[in-house]
Subunit: 365 residues, 2 copies
DNA sequence: CTGAAAGCGCTTACAG
DNA sequence: CTGAAAGCGCTTACAG
């Protein structure tokens, strides 16, 4: 229910009072409505509406005339009114819990690439899946906003209950995830395992055999996919990841430092570490500096994400790169696509690529 | 005028066809309207409307009864309908061109701190003030969206034409800037000069005398404020900034590298550099590595912003910190505040603080 | 291919 | 303090 804060403005302030009228000199460039356009074009408003909505059921000549009048007067239909009549807003929401600012901003940019020059707007909704009333708050957000669509990057995308809420509210959505969680028209698949496999091959080819891994948070499917792919890549070279060479982090810098401290503190410390993301890889740099272990001479470090820091830090970080912005752009395009077009049978997918930089080298021991 | 992409859905597809009706078994938990609540409460819808809008003109008893019924049925008024009737949406836009993802995300979070649990949503609008049809696009965005309000961080906040567009459209806004550009109720002032002054004092006290500065892009007032404050701080110690010790960068990493190369390539190279922001300060690190100049032994580096990288890189970066999230939160609160409250006479302001880390030390030469 | 009527779910302006 | 009527600017359902 509405709260104090919801109050749009004190509408009743003048309730019962005389309308004092607008100041005489006020600029009143009244906005045109669909009625004005209809009158000017000598047609019914419904026909104008048909033109606005690109209905095929308008004679070409009529359409052209109306379009000219619309252009001439720089008319644009009222979004609030359209939304009310459609019972659907012009808002696309990005619902996310990814902690990396770069990831978030890149995806926002991608979505906006698609929404540019349309009447659709991007609404951002960061969230915490572990918050007390998470599903309740998400549910009322979805109910209330009548979103045109929602875009869900990991790990929100992996939450079945959120998808349920969206479906119940009849809200179209696109889930971006490293595993196929939904129907192809609602999925963008990222082959994280494949990226991790490339990282493993690279490390194996350099000659490393004592290899550690910093796993992402258990809640993220990507964390598992990355480890799975990494192990598969090692296996191609007859190598394995010892269970005690795996530490679980939280995709954050600090967790990376802690995990790396444990790994580097071992008597048989690894000569290479594959971190589940760049943030944690930077944590490895930090932990290495603390104990005087040099990257890459003493330890090879490989990350995942290719955040901008990766190419700005010294030594620059070898990492796995996913085209986040492009993914956001594609997700938004799926939402705006003709909803009556035939459904695809395979989800759109993106495969990451390995970016080799200075942090990986042959083992010195 | 609307484009193809604007098409909400092909509304006319079934024009003239029979309505096939909804599937029999479909869950039709029809959403309640204000009329239903009015009927249940035995009052007119107008009275319910008054309660929703917190009008004082309702008997306490009546209000209580209606509130109970609203809560019981978990009713929330339709936003689209309210927006149409109010002729104003429930959207707050953040319009920005700051290139730092961390800055952007922090401010978004701050704004959302305030909007949380209200019906207001945050719409993001990145832009490029040098784009060909910038003002045109911005104008139609503002006209079309009927925003509840807009928040403008630098350098968009410094654009008088954007403020004009907002005022013409009768859209409330808050400008965040390092100089007082508008009336106090529309301003959040950041004392960048004061932060830079602290940086100067710190550098001067360490004993540096040959000091360089990497200036931000000329388009940002903050770039000038920071240099001004920095020079003022040096002056307190009888020091000056030689004109040829100032290079103009673009608040980006790459521009920082280039400027630093020139500064460090001089025969009388400075022993300390104050960069206009952290991104450029990291560029100094890079340039220093290239020529074997060590931070902080050979060169002291001080930045501005306290981006997360500042505390993750080695050596950690001495920098000047502004509470970006808090600023966003305050800006949003100003927008939602009672618009009939008395106007303040002084703008709200934030003063940055110096964060001393490892990159600053006594000069060795 | 085109239109007159009704409706989307609210608020405003006026009246009592 | 409360309400009946009109309106916000569009689209839908029906008809021709």
């Amino acid at each position: 229910m509405p709260t104090d804060k919801d109050k749009h403005q004190a509408s009743d302030q003048a309730d019962g009072l005389q309308n004092t009228g607008a100041p005489a000199g006020e600029k009143t460039r009244t906005k045109l409505t669909i009625n004005d356009i209809a009158r000017l074009a000598n047609v019914s408003k419904k026909t104008v509406s048909r033109v606005i909505n690109e209905s095929p059921r308008v004679r070409e000549e009529t359409r052209k005339k109306i379009k000219e009048i619309i252009a001439e007067h720089d008319f644009s239909p009222d979004l609030q009114a359209r939304a009310l009549a459609f019972r659907r807003s012009f808002l696309v929401a990005m619902i996310y819990d990814n902690p990396s600012p770069q990831y978030v901003v890149n995806m926002q940019r991608g979505i906006l690439d698609t929404l540019e020059d349309t009447s659709f707007q991007l609404v951002v909704r960061p969230c915490d899946r572990n918050a007390p009333r998470f599903y309740e708050a998400m549910g009322s957000f979805i109910e209330q906003q009548r979103l045109f669509g929602a875009i869900l990057p990991p790990s929100v995308s992996e939450d079945e209950k959120v998808a349920d809420l969206l479906r119940e509210a009849n809200c179209p959505y696109v889930r971006i995830a490293s595993v196929e969680l939904d129907t192809p028209d609602r999925m963008i698949r990222t082959h994280d395992a494949e990226g991790a496999r490339q990282a493993a091959r690279h490390i194996a080819k350099l000659g490393h055999t004592r290899i550690g891994h910093i796993h992402g948070p258990d809640m993220f499917r990507s964390a598992h996919e990355r480890q799975r792919g990494f192990e598969a890549g090692l296996a191609e070279f007859g190598l394995t990841l010892a269970p005690d060479m795996v530490e679980e982090g939280g995709y954050t810098f600090d967790s990376g430092v802690e995990c790396a401290r444990r790994l580097l503190g071992r008597p048989d410390r690894p000569t290479a570490i594959f971190a589940g993301n760049d943030e944690m890889a930077l944590g490895v740099y930090q932990a290495a500096r603390e104990v005087g272990v040099r990257v890459p001479y003493d330890i090879t470090v490989v990350g995942f994400d290719d955040t901008p820091i990766a190419s700005r830090i010294s030594p620059t970080l070898t990492t796995v790169k996913l085209p986040i912005r492009e993914m956001g752009k594609t997700a938004a395009a799926m939402l705006l696509a003709d909803r009556d077009a035939p459904k695809r049978s395979e989800p759109i997918s993106f495969t990451p690529e390995l970016v080799i930089r200075e942090s990986s080298a042959k083992p010195s021991r």
